[in-house]
């Protein structure tokens, strides 16, 4: 094995990459736990919001901070609209129909972004952090990586706090545990469902925006981030947020380290598929039960 000296720096890139998988993965888990929907459009939602930030900052030359705020507000509205108008009306219908709706959104958002910003065009990255690196013994870390990691860690901590300490977070956990009991206790399940979609959408948007300078920004890449996010979410059994987070970091490291030896994107996808399969088989019976109700 050559290039072993690259292992540490690439792994650090991987940790950052993984933290970017973790945000949408946690969103997927949240949405799944409350409304029992596998959201295939999750990546597309993040992608579209990222392009809103791109529009504001790169095309309209607004300050980055303002663009991010704009995109986050947009993401919240998008999540709300999708849940209120297309998922909520299917209450009581089989989950398959809700999943079909998310597939519809996946198509709509990808095509709409293609219309607005060009599917294969080059998109200048959104500049979020000053260029430059910090020297540590043995490795260099860019400001961007530090910022991404900090934001991801901060958001995860915030999410943990939200679930443990706030009324809405507690209500979400209650709905995730038992919808009927939660309803009897006076929790407004529809509000909780909307909230999980809004938070999920915002998480996906932030991940997309942070990730965009690290990858080639186009409509496909971020949309298919959903596959990696799903992989992490499945390792967490679609239930556990901490395991999901750890799995996402692990997957990020794997993806990044593969890049040392092969540069084509194929093997990465092979790893993702492998993780999905192993997670499904390993989590088999437990997942089967939870997906059976899905």
């Amino acid at each position: 094995m050559e290039h072993l000296d690259l292992l540490l720096p690439m792994s650090i890139v991987g940790v950052v990459l993984g933290s970017m998988y973790a945000l949408p993965a946690m969103g997927i888990v949240m949405i799944y736990k409350t409304s029992r929907v596998l959201n295939f459009a999750h990546g597309a939602m993040g992608m579209f919001s990222t392009f809103v930030a791109y529009q504001l900052s790169v095309l309209w030359h607004l300050p980055s901070a303002l663009a991010v705020v704009g995109a986050v507000v947009f993401a919240a509205l998008l999540g709300l609209v999708i849940e209120r108008f297309t998922i909520a009306p299917l209450e009581g219908k089989p989950t398959l129909s809700k999943v079909v709706v998310t597939l519809g959104w996946l198509l709509v958002l990808t095509a709409a972004a293609g219309f607005l910003w060009g599917a294969s065009a080059y998109h200048a990255p959104i500049s979020l952090a000053p260029p430059g690196t910090v020297h540590l013994p043995g490795v260099e870390i860019s400001y961007l990586q530090i910022m991404n990691l900090a934001v991801a860690a901060g958001l995860t901590a915030l999410l943990a706090f939200f679930f443990k300490r706030t009324r809405l977070g507690t209500a979400m956990r209650a709905v995730a545990d038992n919808v009927k009991a939660a309803r009897i206790l006076g929790i407004r399940v529809s509000v909780v469902n909307s909230a999980s979609w809004v938070v999920g959408s915002v998480l996906a948007a932030i991940a997309g925006i942070l990730l965009s300078p690290m990858i080639t920004l186009n409509t496909t890449q971020l949309t298919l981030l959903v596959v990696s996010a799903f992989a992490a979410a499945l390792v967490g059994g679609l239930v556990s947020l901490p395991i999901t987070f750890a799995a996402a970091i692990g997957l990020g490291i794997l993806h990044s380290d593969i890049g040392i030896w092969v540069t084509t994107p194929g093997p990465k996808d092979l790893v993702t598929l492998g993780v999905i399969l192993i997670a499904l088989l390993w989590r088999g019976s437990g997942l089967a039960r939870s997906l059976e109700s899905a």
């Binding site: 295939f40 079909v100 597939l103 519809g104 198509l107 990808t110 709409a112 996808d269 089967a288």
Partner: protein
Amino acid sequence: MSRGGLPEVLSVTADTAAVGRRSTLPAKRSGLALIALAGILIAALGPLAIGNFYSFLFAQALSYGIVLLGLVVVVGLLGQPSLMHAELMGLGAGVTATLVQVYHWDFWAAGLAAVVVGYLTGMVVGLPALRIKGLALTLVTLAIARLFDQLVLPSKVLAGSVVGRTISRPNLGPLSLDSDRAYYEVALGVFILMVVLVLTIRRGKLGRIFRAVRESELGAAASGVSLTRYKLLGFATSAAIASLGGVVALGLTGSYSPAPYDWTRSLVLLAMLTIMGSASVTGAALAATVIIVVPHFLRGFSNIVDQATQLIAGGTLIIQTIVSPRGLVPTVGAQVREGMEKRRTRGKGLGPPGEPGSIEEPATWETEVTQPTEVVSGREKR
């Protein structure tokens, strides 16, 4: 239009025949068979009227129609949405092109080999079904689709070079298929064969088992159905049919490149079929027409057409799932049948007018056959 309607006419009747099996009188069934025969005849004679160019276009639609028939098996009958059927089509085309160009196989032998490869691939894809239930399998198909897009379809083995592979139009024994009209007839023949196959599956024991699995895996397993065996069989059959569609498409265009077979195309196929009615053979034909023929008339906008198709397909899918989840063909079909019942009962003086179903109740049977989205509607979320 004379053309676009053809395969549909054929399969509308086939559909109705299948659905109405329990409720239809022998006289009516022979009438339907007559209509089906007339439909096939019109479809077969169509090229005389429309010329080479449109023959090419409709032959292409037929190749997609075959893929969609494969999708009917896995989505409509087995209730497992697949997001990799365009990739399976590409696999069929790619394997055939490689065998013909590199190993100088006969086109049809290569096509047969490609179908076998498709069948085996379907089995491998279905393997996780041993442990995985429900919609997680859809997720697996998305991951595999991605893998195919990146690794398999553009690989050196299948695509050869960046530009892909080119082969010449095959002959059928002594018959030259060089004209697009002639090739259209072959495509139509394969399509009809696949319609018959899918209808046979749907009406037979296998179809009943598939539906049982779709409606409740637990229930089916409890009745002694081997989930593993039938899921694998369903996936493999579906994948083989999809690969065959790719073979037919390759023979028509003579070129293989991975580009047309990506995940968005798979998604459009699934969306269109679901819109039209996922268990419906007519739906498959209609969906193929919409995907291939309609965009052609918008060709002036070239690149944008693909996105427009996706946008419309996605938007329609969302609205329709909420408003009328059964799909276009079953919904319209139920209404047509209701109207026919009304007229028939009135004509024979059986029962008062305006009271459909006074003799038979086709509507209930209909929902049972073609309503994958509502089969478990009784089940509560936890």
